[in-house]
């Protein structure tokens, strides 16, 4: 049986009080409860505070470029659909630099779990506005307040009929672990946008701010109902609903489109020179 300890214990470079600790704990809980051993998963990340996660779990990891965790994860998931591919990265990474890959992941329904540590700020680079920063937020780079409207990743995902999208909160480890577990178990793309306080740079969306607002979805919320999901996704004010917002069971996981993957992961497949000879013959 997989134990929490299997995932190791590391000194982190996060600030004391950072929401990332709660996410890490929830992730490890979800992994162990899912019975996944460290060599059965690959943690993928970009660059940012959140993106340091692969260094703080004892498992396979690919810590790539800022904004590019999703394509790297896509490649890994296609090359080896035998491993669980889980992306941990920031709001800047996924919705800023990597926005185009976010859109593509929604279209592809690629079999990865995307955990966005959404602190509504660029943490590692010391506090500039991110795509999810609230309009008007003042930072050193936005002294007159952020001019853009905040991006709504959940509504965007629902609008594009993503196959799984949830919203979690770093301060509710139990719920979050459950959401991550469900996301990992889901076949196809799953997104968990996680409200994560950044105690060093985000003085607007603080622990208290989130705690006051984050509340589980109404019990009768039906994640299969697109319009209901949009209504919940739209809420980001006095209340921020958490839980599984939308699920679309009609979509096929991306790797299922590749017949050849039924034979196993790519690295185990050989090269058929007979077939190649035949293919060459077509050029005759």
């Amino acid at each position: 049986m997989v134990k929490m300890e299997d995932y190791g214990d590391f000194e982190t470079a996060w600030c004391p009080g950072c929401g990332n600790f709660g996410i890490r704990a929830a992730l490890i809980q979800a992994l162990t409860e899912s019975g996944l051993a460290p060599h059965e998963i690959v943690l993928v990340s970009g660059i940012g505070q959140a993106a340091k996660m692969p260094h703080y779990l004892r498992c396979n990891g690919f810590n790539g470029l800022h904004g590019r965790s999703v394509p790297a994860a896509t490649g890994i998931a296609l090359a080896n659909h035998g491993v669980k591919v889980i992306v941990n990265s920031g709001d800047g990474c996924n919705y800023g630099e990597g926005g185009n890959h976010f859109l593509a992941a929604l279209r592809r329904n690629i079999d990865i779990t995307l955990l966005v540590h959404d602190n509504q700020i660029y943490g590692l680079t010391k506090g500039q506005a991110s795509p999810t920063s609230q309009q008007g937020m003042v930072t050193k780079a936005q002294p007159e307040g952020q001019r853009s409207r905040a991006f709504n990743p959940v509504a965007t995902a629902v609008a594009n009929k993503v196959s799984f999208v949830a919203r979690g909160f770093a301060g509710d480890q139990k719920q979050l672990a459950g959401l991550i577990k469900e996301a990992i178990a889901h076949k196809g793309f799953s997104l968990v946008d996680i409200m994560q306080p950044c105690v060093s740079f985000n003085k607007v969306n603080t622990w208290a701010w989130y705690k006051e607002r984050c509340q589980p979805l109404p019990a009768d919320h039906d994640p299969a109902d697109w319009h209901a999901a949009l209504r919940q996704a739209d809420k980001f004010g006095d209340a921020i609903p958490t839980g599984v917002i939308y699920k679309n069971e009609e979509r096929k996981p991306f790797s299922d489109h590749f017949e050849i993957l039924a034979r196993g992961p790519l690295f185990k497949q050989g090269t058929d020179y007979g077939a190649l000879q035949e293919i060459m013959g077509k050029y005759a």
Binding site: P265, G270, L276
Partner: protein
């Protein structure tokens, strides 16, 4: 009297089907045993404009396109206006009765009378083939093959149109020397440079291809895609080039030999990912099919303008190798080699080609697969070391045993930050030094594997023509002609342009009276690189940067002028 060689142009608008005629004619020539070199000139549009498909054919070996036309199949009036001046003495034009040929000897064909609109091209094809002396049967077979599984009706109509064309030609054609019969040849295939690269990748055990469409690289991807099911390859069109390279790196990390293909502008977007390949030591093959820049430039033409960029693209310092195939066999073989180098040195390796070579069909023997080995991704001995596994263990060669995540108990951590032996972020100066030097030292190994430039012609020649990549053939023929005229000329061709191993070429350079570099760019990029690496400065530079490939004539003219 029959001729030994012929230069045929088919010209018209995009959408008129001239590539189809060209393909079938070229294939028929190959089937009949001739050597061919195709050059395609097309505009960046789908319909209209002006395109040409030129086939140079000969009974003996040829290696380059040539100037001057023997036969011009004009599908519209514009073709006559634009290319009339290229006709050689004794040349013939094949054109619809409605077109005006001016001064040129003209074989007017009443297409409309001979067939219905849809099959006019088949008649044009038939007339051209007939003039060249190809048998109707050979052309008919090539045509059938090209059309694939169409309805019986279509097949019959085509056969009929071909028959009419032959009949008309045999009856009415003006004097035109056909090709001498070609010597018997074994099995041959007809393809272009990009197909050869695609096949090379498949032969090397490619398992993952990600790409974003971009002329003139797309056909590499299409070659792989057409074979993907049978060869067990995952090929995915990415949302952009950044995604393409990062997907490929993810796949490669996970054990799938991986490739991307693009042109200069797409490569520009890949340079950050290239640098990631460098620090994570992830094997990757990058095909860059060059076209003239800057920016969008001339998107359907040719150039060798991105050597510097291939060499220095990506921030920070890390080793790489760059191949520059000169012909189809090199396209195939060097791509195979690129995969092995990429894996063995856990480094990015480039195949630098260009539009001319990409689209230049030739007839060749099928590539030999004997002795070709698929890449073995990762080191099985590294697979079961659990948490003790060190992805970046130091080693004398700079190469660490690579485990594949999920293949065993070894936990594999790759990191774009500077890292320790296990892949964990570090900021320690000592660890940085050790890891950076480890990576850089792989260049020594790559240098040991360098393919030597190939010399041709007399060792004591006064003039040495140096080239790289796709100019191989034009330079070789130019030298042949000079030698034929008694002007001793040697050649040197680099099919690998990085790293360089001066002892492989410098002595010959220093002995030559006059070393002339032939490059399809403005700056003389290889010439400059050679100077940087050896101090040797070439004595002359023949370059071309109008988007058109070298011909032997062009080189001779510049050499004279």
């Amino acid at each position: 009297m029959a001729r030994k060689t012929v230069n045929v142009m088919i010209g018209g608008e995009a959408g008129q089907g001239l590539v189809t005629i060209g393909n079938v004619l070229a294939k028929a020539l190959v089937h009949a045993g001739y050597e061919i070199v195709v050059s395609q000139d097309y505009m960046s549009r789908v319909r209209g404009g002006h395109n040409t498909f030129v086939i140079r054919a000969a009974v003996q070996a040829i290696q380059a396109p040539e100037e001057g036309l023997d036969l011009l199949v004009a599908l519209n009036q514009e073709t006559l206006e634009l290319h009339g001046w290229e006709l050689k003495p004794g040349a013939l034009v094949v054109a619809d009765r409605g077109l005006t040929c001016g001064q040129a000897a003209c074989f007017s064909v009443p297409y409309q009378d001979l067939t219905e609109g849809r099959y006019i091209n088949t008649v044009a094809l038939g007339v051209a083939a007939c003039l060249l002396g190809l048998s109707q049967e050979t052309v008919g077979k090539a045509l059938e093959k090209q059309l694939g599984k169409k309805s019986q009706e279509v097949a019959d109509k085509n056969a009929d149109a071909l028959q009419k064309a032959y009949a008309f030609c045999q009856e009415r054609a003006p004097e035109f020397a056909a090709l001498e019969p070609a010597p018997a040849q074994g099995e041959r295939i007809m393809l272009g440079g990009n197909e050869a690269i695609g096949l090379g990748a498949l032969a090397a055990g490619l398992k993952f291809l990600s790409f974003y469409p971009m002329t003139p690289a797309t056909s590499v991807a299409l070659t792989v895609i057409a074979a993907a099911q049978k060869m067990g390859v995952v090929a995915e069109q990415a949302e952009d080039e950044i995604a393409a390279i990062n997907m490929a790196l993810g796949a490669s990390y996970a054990g799938a030999p991986a490739m991307v293909c693009t042109s200069g502008g797409g490569y520009a977007l890949m340079t950050e990912g290239l640098s990631l390949a460098g620090i994570t030591e992830t094997p990757l093959v990058l095909v860059i099919a060059q076209r003239p820049g800057p920016a969008t430039g001339l998107p359907t033409r040719t150039e060798q303008g991105d050597l510097d960029f291939a060499l220095y693209g990506g921030h920070g310092e890390f080793p790489r190798a760059i191949f520059a195939p000169g012909d189809l066999n090199q396209c195939f073989q060097l791509t195979v080699k690129a995969f092995h180098l990429a894996e063995n040195f856990q480094s990015p390796v480039f195949v630098l080609t260009d539009q001319y070579l990409a689209d230049s069909y030739r007839g060749i023997k099928p590539f030999g697969l004997d002795g070709v080995q698929p890449v073995q991704a990762g080191d099985p001995q590294a697979a079961d070391q659990g948490w003790d596994y060190e992805r970046y263990a130091l080693s004398p060669s700079g190469v660490s045993p690579r485990a594949i995540p999920g293949a065993g108990s070894s936990l594999v951590l790759s990191d774009s930050d500077e890292h320790d032996n296990k892949g964990h972020i570090t900021e320690l100066a000592m660890v940085r030094l050790a890891q950076h030097e480890k990576r850089l030292s792989k260049l020594d190994g790559l240098r040991e594997e360098v393919i030597a430039p190939q010399f041709g012609g007399p060792e004591s020649a006064e003039t040495l023509l140096v080239s790289w990549g796709s100019s191989l053939g034009a330079v070789a023929e130019a030298a042949q002609r000079l030698n034929g005229q008694g002007r001793q000329t040697a050649t040197c061709h680099f099919s690998q342009v990085w790293p360089l191993k001066p002892e492989q070429f410098l002595p010959r350079f220093e002995k030559a009276g006059r070393v002339v570099m032939v490059e399809m760019n403005a700056g003389g990029q290889l010439a400059r690189l050679i100077r940087r690496e050896t101090g040797f400065q070439v004595h002359g530079l023949i370059n071309r940067y109008d988007g058109r490939p070298f011909t032997p004539d062009y080189i001779l003219q510049k050499l004279a002028g």
